[in-house]
Symmetry: C2
Subunit: 392 residues, 2 copies
């Protein structure tokens, strides 16, 4: 391991995230067969708990793929080659879905939103008025590359009003479980999520649910598919089985994580925790360390802060890793070296958060950033302590 | 858990398989980021060790899917809609590949081999002579549903001789690491395997490698694909990264399993162990318990035994589970209730195997099978002991 031994490794990325002891123990359990009654019970309970996280009465399915597989499943199950689809492209993951649409022969339109900004209902309305025959609108709940939260509820309303036949397809990878999302109530037609974010699991499985409207479109889809055929998966789920061999270790860990952090009222508490961590991070960074928030519509799952131009050559993220064994996300693609990203997901304790603000202050100081001083670091710790306790 | 507490749970299925302590510990390790240097090293070493298991100089890729995803990747990366492909259908998994071919618009021909039998070089030759323009031949190394080992080496020769342009695409899911397979030497063009078989891991990741001929065909493939795009995956691998978020826990466990059981000379020892367990199982079942082996060409990864007609209504597999906490595979589809299947994969100790032959004897006796007596069970134990020690 390349990490210094003084500090334990701390993961403040927007996924993967720190795991709980319970989840780690579940991962380590001896193998059992996926067609055993014991496993079927775990699978069924997990599928039921997922409906609560999705806030849906529709069945939620577990896919054995990372999130991009669920993004592909959303697309190939509901549409047919040549269908018109609109992709809200506001960062790297919006681009990915658009490229996927191209790969599968959709007639793709991109609604390009400047990086760091959310799509406005007015822009979406204007776009849909020009293309009322569109079959689906694809959008990120939180664009992980820019830490922008998209206005899902408002977008859903606009789509219902101006593109009657269109599905609203949402990638809630870095969002579900960390910000409020109500699939049925808001009118989301396809919702996808991944395990390595708010679900507090290793990467490797993903989740998807379809509205009645989406299932109806699925019956007409002529897109070639086999591994990601959701109708076949759903049929297996009625027997409390997955269609192919189940990722038993992963699903047992999911079962544990759902019980630990998402069952009943825990869902709201888990979302609130992300919101508290997000607020604490942003207030300290702006008020104490004089940094600027990058996105115009910040999410509660991940925060992106601009690295001041004067210290962009100092490699802040590397200092945090090498000196403090603390992993934060850098900027991706056009934002490389210009922002850093801090996750508010997974098992982040108050102590972790306090360590983070100190380490960040010391790293900024080492970079020569004037607002980071011994005095301001003390202030940052005090403010963090206050924000963490006042809100829980 | 529905299992009785007297005996520890024993898994004798043809996947999933018992995990080692080391693998279980690796699964439980705290999360690290998939773009960290520490993880990149683990990934690179794993990819290199996989080449040894595949016996290939070609790069091996890790897919975040169960085996069926790798089967799909093999198909969609090398072929184009309308291409002619031959599927050797000798059981459930041959059928699956054939259905996949249909789903993706190939012109599919099935070489149907009676369940329980291997394809003969003569039959394959005759088939290919009729269709010399075929683009790919798909075959299972071991058809898991029937426990038949297919003659890969001979089939490869026939294909090279009679279908010059055809790829030989092999699903070695329940085979690689449990029987000798040499990708380069034998002339296999695409080889796929899954984690929950001889690799002794939970289900959830799969492996694939392509020959030069297959990579060349991949450049011409017009099949729509994104998640399973192997050229994109390979490009990421050159940076010691996976294309999407890595299944970090799974790949660390893979790294452990490869070092424990497959590095250097361990590969041959692991294969030999499956062969010893297979021989011990079959000799005891036939010589002592008077059962018949189902497949005409038995594999060393899984054995299928016919359940005598007289006791087919007694539910042998359920007795083994309920009384002895021992999970064996039943028959699938048309073989349901007619055979049972015993895996020789994963961490099966001598003690486990001795327990198995006793439990099987007692269960057969309870079913009323005359050849299973207290005396024959004692014989079975002695013969097992002898066969296990004589061969290692």
């Amino acid at each position: 391991m390349a990490h210094p031994p003084e500090y334990p490794y701390r993961l403040f990325a927007p996924g993967p995230v720190p795991l709980s002891e319970g989840v780690r123990q579940a991962l380590a359990e001896p193998m059992i067969h996926h067609r055993s009654e014991a496993f079927k019970k775990i699978l069924r309970e997990s599928l039921n708990l997922l409906q609560h996280v999705f806030q849906t009465r529709q069945p939620v399915m577990i896919l054995n793929s990372v999130g991009s597989g669920a993004m592909e499943a959303a697309l190939v199950n509901t549409l047919s080659p040549g269908d018109e689809a609109l992709f809200i492209v506001a960062g790297k993951f919006g681009e990915r879905w658009w490229k996927m649409g191209q790969a599968f022969g959709l007639k793709c339109f991109a609604l390009e939103v400047p990086w760091g900004e959310a799509v406005s209902p007015e822009t979406l309305t204007a776009t849909l008025k020009k293309r009322p025959t569109i079959k689906a609108v694809f959008c990120q709940a939180c664009e992980t590359s820019t830490a922008v939260a998209q206005p899902l509820r408002e977008s859903a309303k606009v789509i219902r009003q101006h593109a009657h036949e269109s599905l609203f397809v949402v990638d809630a990878m870095t969002a579900l479980g960390a910000m409020p999302i109500e699939m049925d109530e808001w009118g989301i037609d396809v919702l996808v999520a991944g395990s390595q974010k708010a679900f507090m699991l290793p990467a490797g499985i993903s989740f998807i649910a379809l509205s009645d409207r989406a299932w109806k479109m699925a019956t007409k889809s002529s897109m070639p598919k086999y591994y990601f055929d959701l109708a076949a998966e759903l049929e297996s789920n009625t027997k409390n089985e997955t269609r192919f061999s189940s990722s038993v270790s992963h699903i047992r860990a999911l079962h544990t994580a759902l019980q630990e952090s998402f069952a009943g009222p825990k869902l709201a508490r888990t979302i609130a925790r992300s919101q508290v961590l997000a607020r604490a991070t942003r207030e300290v960074c702006t008020q104490v360390y004089q940094l600027q928030i990058y996105p115009k519509a910040p999410s509660s799952s991940v925060s992106a802060l601009l690295i001041p131009e004067a210290i962009q050559d100092k490699n802040l993220t590397k200092i945090l890793l090498n000196k403090f064994n603390l992993f934060i996300g850098g900027g991706q693609d056009q934002l490389k070296g210009k922002i850093f990203r801090v996750g508010h997901l997974g098992h982040i304790s108050d102590e972790d958060q306090l360590f983070f603000v100190q380490a960040l202050g010391l790293a900024l100081k080492e970079c020569g950033w004037a607002a980071a001083t011994d005095h301001s670091i003390t202030q940052a710790v005090a403010l963090t302590r206050q924000l963490l306790t006042s809100k829980e």
